[in-house]
Symmetry: C2
Subunit: 223 residues, 2 copies
Amino acid sequence: MEYSTAQIAEMVKKVLCEMSTRAPETAAAANGEVPVGVSNRHIHLTKADLETLYGKGYELTPLKDLSQPGQYACKETLTIVGPSLRPIENVRVLGPLRSKSQVEISMTDSYVLKVKPPVRESGNLVGSAPIRIIGPKGIVELKEGCIIANRHMHRSPADAQAFKVKDCDTVTVDVNGTRRTRWYDVQVRVHKDFRLEMHVDTDDANAVGIGNGSKVKVVKETC
Amino acid sequence: MEYSTAQIAEMVKKVLCEMSTRAPETAAAANGEVPVGVSNRHIHLTKADLETLYGKGYELTPLKDLSQPGQYACKETLTIVGPSLRPIENVRVLGPLRSKSQVEISMTDSYVLKVKPPVRESGNLVGSAPIRIIGPKGIVELKEGCIIANRHMHRSPADAQAFKVKDCDTVTVDVNGTRRTRWYDVQVRVHKDFRLEMHVDTDDANAVGIGNGSKVKVVKETC
């Protein structure tokens, strides 16, 4: 088998590209390793929806700080229901309150509920799936707001700079769990309140056999 | 940045290796595409265990042929229970009967049951997890037999030969689902009664957003 100079040049270019895109995280702390946080299904609420569900003047009861600064799990849990009429109970509310209510579930949950949420980044709710939230004092019928969260990674600005990525870039991640896997298109989110952590839902975590605190590895930026 | 002749040779060799390992499936039918079958949790039974669960002389009731010739789903479903005492109901029995009873669940199920099954190929049960199976006439307490099935791919001998793989080889598979993913270490199983199909469990299928009949693509043999 013979190759032309052009073919060989193409191959060398390809490998050089791989090597160069691998360089940033090799230089970064911990060899490109990122700790994982597994997100179970959860709910973010507006003040108005909180009051519909729990009554006028009600306030969330913080239970436990989450790894991202300022975010917390609340004592409150709610029931969600879709067209199947098979409810999912004990869905945790996360604080603080937001400007739009949002229900994040897994695809496994979506089959129970018979809803068809898109895979989206948090906050991008236009045209997402409808869902009903049942509270002790009232019911909220969201016309949209149910999503399956995309795979994403939180980074501080300093960390992003060291890693040579910016907000909304995507990276490729290898996972050495009980079933070895590569995740493409992992969205990088950069904010001054973020700390380094990759967020996946329970479907992704259970498919590969990892849990909170497991380490995954950025192998390259997705070109 | 400069590279020595040895470094360039190494890069070229790497790319050539990739190209050559990619060659077999490019030549094979359908460009390396493999249809997917999603396995929900299920049970295989021995004759003795079937009779414990349903009574002496009981026979399975075939309900629907599965894609692998000779395999079928049965009308019978059972309840399984582990240390959590939270049962999972309606677990389908698959026929025909086997020489060892086996319960295949997902990692998501394992958290409900509080069992710790290994990720294994079917039939490899030594030291696997214990589980209880509840039937209408009796209970079977398996000391071992509960596993999470590994990712695997069925191929006929002719297909395996065309694809240049043999039984128990592993291949790497790319999945273009709602969340793009690469599965490493996919075990190839070759048998005269097999037809081309990749089997994954509900965790893997839901993590990537695919279902029965979706196509995945073998990208290379795992070296």
